[in-house]
């Protein structure tokens, strides 16, 4: 009996020591508790990883999730205020490579604040950005889980859209001027996964101002006008006089008034399904469409 009590005491002391050591080691490399995000996609990722409560500053463009709207603002996406950032006393500032202001991020670093710029130009990089942000915040498993969840979403859409012949697609933000998604842009990859083929996908620029005649010559089968505030009626009006474009002739001019596919964040999977439903609607019908009534089906025509 006495021996048993001794063993229990011994175990208790050992576990206390272990816990204490764990605490010491954790204290040696504390995960950042006060984080400033310099991009809407970073804000979304931090929230999706479950660390929204650690954000002490976001940009004025960070409007998702709704909690982000209530967080203190540190300025715009292109022009954040260094003062406002420093005033939040962050222990980590996360920005986006090639988008966050290089001089300002340098200034913040000089003031002794840790700045990490993540790269999000391709889908792979976006998935990796979940992992690296999670690692920075001390929970690599959460990053892996999020990356796997989004990968599954992307994969599911890819599987559904795969059997159909690919539709040439124009995806643009704004009609006057016509700014289209070019190559070297993760949205170009999304169009491909959704069963489309970007008509400006061979362009060297990620975004480009397309002349109307190029669109007529490329004859896209689907035209999607993306971005907040885009209206289908406005897009239809803009294109309606160019009836040789198959998308116009067949009524496949759509608007996609959401930022989901435009932001390299955790909602790209959801966004992909939504644009795939526009590009390949046949592949997302709940009732199987057996091709009667002359309707197209979600598979390649048999030779």
């Amino acid at each position: 009996m006495k021996q048993r009590k001794q063993i229990l005491t011994y175990l208790f002391v050992v576990s206390l020591i272990v816990l204490y050591c764990g605490h010491i080691f954790a204290a040696e490399a504390p995960s950042p508790q006060r984080v400033v995000s310099l991009a809407p996609s970073v804000t979304e990722t931090v929230f999706a990883l479950g660390f929204g409560s650690r954000l002490v500053g976001v940009t004025t463009y960070c409007d998702y999730p709704a909690e982000a709207l209530r967080l203190p603002k540190i300025g715009g996406f292109i022009n954040p205020s260094v003062e406002a950032i420093v005033e939040k006393r962050p222990d980590l500032v996360i920005g986006v490579k090639d988008s966050s202001h290089p001089v300002k991020t340098k200034e913040i670093e000089i003031l002794g604040i840790r700045v990490v710029l993540i790269s999000v130009t391709s889908l792979d990089e976006i998935l990796n950005s979940f992992r690296s942000i999670a690692r920075l915040l001390g929970n690599p498993q959460a990053g892996e889980r999020l990356a796997q969840k989004v990968t599954r979403q992307l994969e599911a859409v890819k599987q559904r859209a795969a059997p159909a012949p690919r539709r040439s697609t124009l995806l643009a933000v704004g009609v006057r001027p016509l700014v289209a998604v070019g190559g070297r842009n993760f949205i170009d990859e999304l169009i491909n996964l959704a069963g489309g083929e970007n008509i400006a996908g061979n362009a060297a620029q990620p975004w480009l101002n397309l002349p109307d005649e190029y669109v007529v010559a490329k004859a896209p089968q689907v035209i999607i006008q993306a971005g907040m505030g885009s209206e289908r009626a406005a897009a239809m009006r803009y294109w309606r006089d160019l009836k040789s474009i198959p998308a116009v002739k067949d009524g496949r001019v759509y608007s996609y008034p959401s930022d989901k596919i435009l932001r390299p964040g955790p909602r790209v999977g959801e966004g992909l399904e939504e644009i795939a439903r526009l590009i390949q609607p046949e592949c997302f019908m709940t009732a199987p469409n057996n091709g009667r009534n002359g309707e197209s089906r979600c598979e390649s025509p048999r030779p």
Binding site: D212, Y214, L242, L262
Partner: protein
């Protein structure tokens, strides 16, 4: 005052007119995509890609380019004479700033509104150029008021108030640009950079009618413009009603500039450079200089826009980049050559 040399007049303007026709044809044929012209003409009214590219996207654009280039150059000529300043250009008198602000407000507050013409039978035009034109008219009135000196339009006051009004407007525009959302801001910047992209023959027709009318009116003032470049006193002694002439020319050119900026944004350099180039080539008799500049401006902008369409194809460049990039060195070369000629 020299008598107008009719032979030179016909020769110069005839050659330029022919060149303009060649440019109209050439620029319609050249683009980022190749066309089958036979099919384009055969299927002129059918939904055929070749026909749509040629008649619906390229031709209206080339026609607009000629009108805007010609109008800008003609306004540049008269403003340089009126203000007796070689740096005067259509962008300088403040009207373009007002038009830009009007257009920007239009883009922010009612980007999708359309005004049906004749109950929609003649198509619709966007409110954005209308808002820009209202902005141009309001700024014209304001600048006119500020430039009055002892009851008459004073060139230096006009120049100063125009430049300062433009910088003020630029600040307002930059402020608006930093409070709108990210994608809207991109759109505003593109609009400000200027573009000749259009498919509306209605708009092109309006602008042509407007500019040709304005140009012809300015042309009738050619002789008086010659006299006014000698100085106000001299012109007055030679029987020119300088005060009235200055007022009329300011209003006429401001109306033209307002309309041009409303449709195509701020396309710089044509209005500054073409008048100087033509002055070096044909001399400074405004009766000859005005039509020559009009034609040369049309030719230049039409080709500049073609280069903007094909240089980085399929991406399209803002045409203002091309006008400055090719126009600037050419102008400096002419200036250098002229300097050497005088030295010899």
């Amino acid at each position: 005052m020299k008598v107008l040399d009719r032979r030179k007049m016909i020769l110069v303007n005839g050659c330029l007119f022919l060149l303009l026709l060649v440019s109209l044809l050439g620029c319609s044929l050249i683009g980022p995509v190749t066309l089958d012209f036979r099919r384009a003409f055969e299927n002129m009214f059918l939904p055929d890609p070749n026909a749509e590219i040629l008649f619906r996207t390229r031709l209206p654009r080339v026609l607009l380019g000629i009108a805007i280039g010609g109008g800008m150059a003609a306004c540049g000529v008269v403003l340089q004479a009126l203000l007796r300043n070689p740096l005067a250009c259509p962008q300088m008198i403040g009207v373009s700033g007002g038009a830009s602000l009007g257009g920007i407000l239009g883009l922010i507050f009612f980007p999708h509104w359309l005004l049906p013409i004749a109950g929609g039978r003649l198509g619709e035009i966007s409110w954005v150029p209308l808002a820009a034109f209202v902005g141009a008219l309001l700024s014209m009135v304001l600048i006119y008021r500020f430039s009055l000196f002892h009851g008459r339009l004073h060139p230096y006051h006009l120049l100063l108030s125009g430049v300062i009004f433009n910088s003020f407007i630029a600040a307002v525009i930059m402020f608006l640009n930093s409070i709108v959302d990210f994608y809207q801001a991109q759109g505003l910047l593109f609009w400000l950079m200027g573009s000749l992209s259009t498919r509306a023959y209605l708009t092109v027709g309006f602008i042509w009618a407007y500019i040709v009318f304005g140009f012809l009116w300015l042309w009738t003032k050619g002789l008086s413009l010659n006299l006014i470049t000698l100085g106000e006193e001299a012109a007055m002694q030679l029987g020119v009603e300088t005060a009235a002439l200055q007022r009329q020319i300011f209003i006429a050119s401001a109306l033209m500039i307002g309309a041009m900026v409303s449709v195509s944004g701020m396309i710089g350099f044509v209005g500054l450079m073409i008048p100087h180039v033509m002055r070096l080539i044909v001399g400074s008799d405004h009766r000859l200089l005005l039509p020559a500049s009009f034609l040369a401006g049309g030719i230049f902008l039409c080709w500049a826009d073609t280069v903007a369409r094909i240089l980085l194809a399929p991406a399209e460049l803002p045409v203002g980049i091309i006008t400055a990039f090719f126009g600037g060195p050419f102008f400096l070369f002419l200036l250098y050559r002229e300097g050497k000629k005088l030295a010899v």
